[in-house]
């Protein structure tokens, strides 16, 4: 796991360096040929120019694909836009989980303790590609500009294990292993996502993201004997994120 983390970190740093070298802020092209087949075009300075700007944002994040808990997180975002289409994004999420009624019923009525992967934090960095820039007209007649983007990132997901399903060894069997203390373990994560930003002004906009965070975890980490390896599995956290960001 430690080797995996180190490799992941190395990979992330390499990506950053590559992006900085390969994607320098390039001068704008006037794109003479755009809609060249049309007799009349609108040509004007871009309303929402993101090139060489920093974006700072915040979102509320909900992990949607969990049967027994709700996980709510606060996400902070920091982006640097090299061009209108390419940006580097770093984000960090931290939150908590609440048990659903189903989990409590299973425990209280059927003595079934479900093993849950409680996501405590996620952070990562990667590339954002914005191929679509458009506008829409509201019923009021106001025009709102928007971006549609896709992202790919690497990072870490912190899973909190409470070991609530484990019991302390009875006093007459001290040889049995102790109930493990609660801990949070980090797993290298890869995510892909898509979303949109709606620009209220040239410095501020609302955004939504849907992301799929994939990570591989050791199945035994959540058991009462976490030191015993029993094999690994891949888990998806699918998130819906809603928030806003401001541009500098």
């Amino acid at each position: 796991m430690e080797m995996g983390k180190r490799n992941l970190l190395k990979m992330a740093m390499t990506l950053v360096v590559i992006a900085a070298v390969v994607l320098p802020p390039s001068p704008a092209r006037s794109e003479i040929g755009r809609f060249d087949g049309y007799e009349i075009r609108v040509i004007r300075p871009r309303f929402m120019a993101k090139r060489n700007r920093i974006e700072l944002g915040g979102e509320g994040t909900l992990i949607m694909n969990q049967s027994f808990i709700y996980t709510l997180m606060m996400t902070g975002l920091l982006d640097y836009h090299f061009s209108e289409m390419i940006a580097l994004e770093f984000d960090a999420s931290y939150g908590f989980s609440i048990d659903k009624d189903d989990k409590r019923i299973l425990q209280d009525e059927f003595q079934i303790n479900t093993q849950i992967l409680r996501t405590e934090y996620i952070f990562g960095g990667g590339i954002m590609w914005t191929p679509i820039y458009g506008k829409t007209q509201l019923p009021s007649g106001n025009v709102v500009y928007f971006d549609s983007f896709v992202t790919g990132q690497v990072g870490l997901t912190g899973i909190k294990y409470t070991y609530e399903q484990c019991l302390a060894p009875p006093p007459d069997h001290p040889e049995l292993p102790d109930k493990p203390p609660p801990s949070t373990k980090a797993y290298p994560t890869f995510n892909v996502g898509f979303g949109q930003k709606y620009f209220v002004s040239q410095d501020f906009g609302f955004r939504w993201d849907v992301r799929d965070y994939l990570f591989q975890y050791e199945k035994g980490d959540g058991s009462c004997t976490p030191d015993v390896k029993v094999g690994s599995d891949v888990h998806n956290n699918i998130t819906l994120q809603l928030g806003a960001s401001t541009f500098f």
């Binding site: 006037s30 003479i32 755009r34 809609f35 075009r41 609108v42 040509i43 004007r44 871009r46 025009v143």
Partner: protein
């Protein structure tokens, strides 16, 4: 037995008793004023004004009445009495002359008294040395305006120069100095005055007016001296929400034409012809469009433009003619017609609505509108004081004055608007004659001679422009939207055509011998004229 002495004494007593109310009124009025009871003060002053006892009392009561009304917010009503004082001229007995002039200047800088009111005021010969400091700006500014309107430009210039720099009229005076300088042919001085006026314009409505007019006029002066790029730069500073925005666009279209930036010319006209501005009056834009196509040898499109002019303005012509016939001798009703259009209650003369729209945006209309609004406000206020002012006639006196003021403003504005409308009729007729002329020359095959007449202006290959009158900046990110027949409000002003000249092909299109069809996706050869290097970074 009656003695002469007794009779004499009785007479004196009777006279004194009769005079007592007037004396008592003036003293009472002063007492009310000192206590800031301006309502009672006005009533008492009015009575003393009507029944003065002794020399000087009427003038004092007049001054007191004006002051009381001003304190109550009856600015127009106060100006009535201040004006009477000023019109008497500066003399020994008119002790309130300088103060009255100052107060009128203050009132006018708050609510416009109206050009005609002020002109009447200054018909009295006044020695400029007797004009008090705070009123000098007001005095010289309006003398300048009056001289300007009578086309006595040198006199106007000298009056405007006398407006002191601390006066609220200074900025506008500086602006007018620019106008006169331009008329004299001193273009750089004119620009310098306009720049100063613009720099000194504050954030008030007045300031915004001066700033916009200064920008427009700097653009026009630059156009006159063929500094077309600078002209475009100043036209671009007129804000989108201004009444002058479309005018700036139209004049910028002409500037692009002179620079031989045909795609920018046509793109700018495209905004003027959008459905958003169906009621705006820019008939000359069709002529400009036609001659631009003519320059590009696109003869079919020339005919289309001329045809559109005829379709759009034939009806306007007819309705305008009917309007002018109907309202020739009734300026008040003509003003009402424009007013009804503005408030949306007009259902007739629909084909001439573009004319009425243009008239409703003039300063003449707006000034009269303000006079009516302020007068109505004071008339409404009067009703609150009818209990105290009704019995002595003050209410009726002021109401009558305000109604007359409204009537005079409406009549004056109506006449000036009618003259403007008559000017539009002559203008439309002239443009119509031009379209007939162009059509005739084309039919007779004298296209080359026509095009030779259009060889005006200088191609500016270095300057390239995108939409919105913006110079192309190669480091700037641009956005492109194709126009597919649907107008978006946020795109207005941003259109640029993307067509080339067909003049290299024999006869252009639809002229003698056809030629390649220009338009969507088809580019013909280089063309004898500049390749319309514009929008899209063609350098």
């Amino acid at each position: 037995m009656r003695t002469p002495g007794k009779i004499y004494l009785s007479l004196i007593l009777a006279v004194t008793l009769a005079a007592e109310p007037a004396l008592a009124n003036y003293r009472a009025a002063s007492a009310y004023f000192a206590r800031r009871d301006y309502i009672d003060a006005a009533s008492a002053y009015f009575q003393a004004y009507g029944y003065p006892k002794g020399a000087g009392e009427k003038e004092k009561a007049e001054w007191g009445l004006a002051q009381s009304l001003q304190k109550l917010g009856f600015y127009y009503s106060a100006s009535k009495y201040y004006s009477v004082i000023v019109r008497r001229g500066p003399n020994r007995s008119n002790i309130f002359f300088t103060k009255a002039l100052e107060e009128l200047g203050k009132i006018n800088s708050t609510i416009n008294l109206g050009q005609s009111h002020i002109v009447q005021l200054f018909k009295t010969k006044i020695d400029p040395a007797q004009v008090p400091g705070p009123a000098r700006g007001f005095y010289f500014y309006y003398l300048g305006i009056e001289a300007f309107n009578r086309r006595k430009f040198e006199q106007a210039f000298s009056f405007f120069q006398k407006v002191p720099s601390g006066s609220p009229y200074y900025n506008k005076a500086t602006f007018h100095l620019g106008v006169v300088s331009n008329l004299r042919g001193s273009h750089s001085k004119a620009i310098s005055y306009f720049e100063r006026a613009r720099a000194g314009a504050g954030n008030s409505d007045n300031g915004a007016w001066v700033r916009e007019q200064a920008n427009l006029n700097i653009a026009r002066v630059n156009y006159e001296v063929k500094r077309y790029r600078s002209a475009i730069e100043y036209y671009a500073q007129i804000p989108r929400d201004s009444d002058n925005w479309l005018e700036a666009l139209f004049e910028a279209a002409w500037t692009f034409f002179m620079m031989q930036k045909h795609n920018n010319t046509l793109g700018t006209i495209h905004t003027l012809h959008s459905p958003f501005f169906v009621n705006r009056f820019f008939p000359e834009s069709y002529i400009l469009q036609a001659i631009t196509f003519l320059r590009l040898c696109r003869y079919k499109q020339v005919k289309v433009s001329l045809g559109k002019f005829k379709t759009r303005y034939k009806g306007v012509f007819d309705d305008l003619n009917k309007l002018l016939e109907h309202y020739r001798s009734d300026p008040q009703k003509f003003f009402k017609l424009v007013y009804d259009y503005r408030v949306g209650s007009l259902n007739e003369y629909k084909r001439a609505w573009a004319i009425l729209d243009s008239l409703s945006r003039t300063d003449v209309y707006k000034e009269a509108g303000n006079t009516i609004r302020f007068s109505d406000r004071e008339l409404a206020q009067l009703s609150r004081y009818s209990a105290k002012w009704g019995s002595n006639g003050l209410n009726d006196e002021l109401a009558s004055f305000l109604r007359n003021k409204k009537t005079a403003a409406v009549k004056d504005a109506g006449k000036r608007l009618f003259d403007t409308a008559s000017g539009y009729y002559a203008y439309l007729k002239e443009l119509s004659d031009q379209t007939i002329g162009i059509n005739t020359e084309m039919v007779l095959g004298r296209v080359d001679a026509l095009r030779a007449q259009l060889k005006v202006g200088t191609a500016d290959k270095k300057a390239n422009f995108i939409g919105g009158l913006q110079a192309l900046n190669v480091s700037q990110d641009l956005e492109y939207w194709p126009f597919e027949g649907e107008y978006w409000e946020d795109e207005l002003g941003g259109y640029v055509y993307n067509i080339e000249s067909l003049c290299s092909k024999a006869g252009g299109d639809g002229g003698a011998g056809g030629g390649a069809k220009g338009g969507k996706g088809e580019k013909s050869g280089g063309g004898e004229e500049d390749k319309s290097g514009d929008g899209g970074g063609e350098n």
